[in-house]
Amino acid sequence: MSRKPSGKCSSNSKFYLICPLRFFRKIFPAKPARKIVIGVIGNPNVGKSTLFNELTGAKQYVANWPGKTVEKKEGIRFWKGCELHFVDLPGTYSLSASSLDELVSREFILNEKPDVIIDIVDASNLERHLYLFLELAEMGARIIIALNKIDIAKAKGIQIDIEKLSKLLGTPVISTIATKGEGISHLCDAIVGVALGTIKSNPVLVKYSKDVEEAIRLLEEKIKQKIEKYPSRWIAIRLLLKDRDVIKLVSKVAPEIIKEAEKLTYRLEKKYGQSIETIIAEQKYRLIEKIVSETVKYVGHPILDITDLIDTVVLNKYLAIPIFISILWAIFLFTFDAATFLVEGIDFLFEILADFARNNIPNKLIASLITDGIIAGLGSVLVFVPNIFFLFLAVSFLEDSGYFARAAFIFDRIMRKVGLHGKSVIPLILGLGCNVPAVMATRGIESEEDRLLTIAVAPLVPCSARFPVFILLAGIFFGKMAAIVMLSMYLLGFALAFLIALIVRKIFYKGIISPFIIEMPPYSKPSLKSISLHMWIRGSHFLKKAGGIIFLMSIVIWFLASMPPGVEFGGPGSYAGIIGRSLEFLFKPLGFDWRIVTALIFGFVAKEVVIDSLGVLLGQNLEEALPQILTPISAYALMVFVLIYTPCIATIATIRSETHSWKWTLFVVAYELILAYLLAFLVVFIGNLIF
């Protein structure tokens, strides 16, 4: 659920304890500031998040839109006695509600009726960006235009008569350069002015051709009597456009209007020989063309674009994939090697902490809870944090630079063959490092179905935590063949991911893959401020969401391993041992004994735990102990099992928080367990036949 923001940043803040002014305010509260709600909207790649960050600073919080998987970002700024409450709406090209993002934005504008809408428009591409503006205007919103990237437009030789543009559009137009923070104070002034009514905002409405206007008028008259909550002209236009949600809304109160609208639409389509969407859009663009021709001048010739130069190489038939792989390699090195010193530092700190607690807490049970449960559990999460933050830093850099759009484009064809989307490629590759950021990186995929599908298969990609398990088992059992066995694990992981994607697509989504369209923004140098803020917001979001669940689970596992009181930690008498032994019969066909089953149960926390717990259960020398309880065939089966079954609690927690659905999370956990068992069984079965 979204939280009401007002309490969080101002009055509830604990800062009053240390800040005298806040303390003073706590006792003598100031006159409550007037709250102004502002929706920030714009096309993707217009610099919306940069501008949003400039407007609100780090005072942001991220949640999901109620009941949706779309991220909702909010932030606050105080300006001239008013509390400006900004809501970041998803980047969209239009508001036809054909995607979840568009639906979310539309519902916000119609139902929550924000005081002001800031429409961010790219100065170097007015024509396309004004389309969204005209749709907003029809919805009766009070709009301010932030004419962003005015510096780039100037460099391209584009001159815009801002005053005239403001007059023609009927709204204030403020030029901004989000990357440099220019124009922000003017924008805030305009917001307060429009909200208080001192500055007028009467956005221009499109005048369609005679017959379209006639149809709108006919419908509008009837709608006016029945529906008051929404602007009737907008409803009339949406009805002509056969908008599903609007039809649903109107059919509740006045089903006869829908039939009328259908008739009118049919007549218009027949007359123009085009679909109604095209007719309406064309007339909107005609107005835009007129406005642009009156306000924009092109001086001089645009210089040769560096973007085009880079693209001829990056999108080259032969070079595209090698370049992609090298960039990927660079990300990996950065995420895992550059962060190593931090990881080791945190590990070291936790060891000291655990030692300290063990030696200084007299009660043995509490000491064990704190060291083996809480510190070990928290440690296992926090150790990942530097990797995750570094990965997000690298990903934010690539995202802001504009390369991701190219990578998705290159891979769309290949991914499509296995039922995935071009934009699934990045999450899957990131999964090689860690499945958690992989699941989070699926946010870039617009279509809900494609996104859920990618999330479902991402955990099958063998992450770095599974690597130590593979290397240990392969080393002990396969000697010289170890490298090939390792490679087979990675190939199997990807093959299964594609296979499952194909199957799930066939079962759940009837073989429909949304067509691929992607805007390729010009390459730009990301600003350090923007990408570090990006990293911080996403990284801390992960800590809050996943951290809680991991913390809880580690206590549960500790409880299972050390209860009833007095047993050896993880020994046969503990609850974990009892569970392991009672499940042993299930795993007998695979050749696993109860100690391996127990280790696999602990592996739910994280895959590297499998080795640790085997160490505890079998005594330290695994190289001697393991061959006694496993044959090479069942060792391979164990590797397959570890490859496939649920990666770790952190991933499960992330899937839950990203999909907002326990059902989907459970589905992922269940199919992976079943698949892991079946394939491991198959390995044993075939292995025994051959050898």
């Binding site: 239009s94 054909s98 389309y131 679909s275 969407e277 769309d412 009837k510 992607i518 805007e519």
Partner: protein, 96 residues
């Protein structure tokens, strides 16, 4: 038979309704070829998406890349990548 989604259905309707003389799909345009979009043959969701991005009948378009990965076009100063399937459904009048 399974119910098909909008734009697959339209696929079967097109040839009867629309006279496509002289128009060629984007996918058949050479690299650096220019033209004007005349007809888009897709379902409502995709049409809306394309229209919002400025791909509309009457818009000038230039093909920047045309390879096995898909087609990259320049429209109104914006680069847009399209999958081959979609590129074969956008018809343009080629300007020589």
């Amino acid at each position: 038979m399974r119910k098909r989604f909008g734009w697959t259905r339209k696929l079967q309707e097109l040839p009867k309704e629309k006279h496509l003389g002289g128009l060629i799909p984007l996918i058949n345009m050479p690299k650096n070829g220019e033209g004007i979009v005349r007809y888009i043959w897709a379902g409502r969701g995709i049409i809306n998406r394309l229209l919002g991005m400025g791909i509309r009948p009457g818009a000038k378009v230039k093909v920047l890349e045309n390879s096995m990965y898909g087609v990259v076009i320049l429209i109104n100063g914006t680069k847009i990548g399209l999958c081959p399937r979609l590129a074969s459904r956008i018809y343009v009048e080629q300007a020589w």
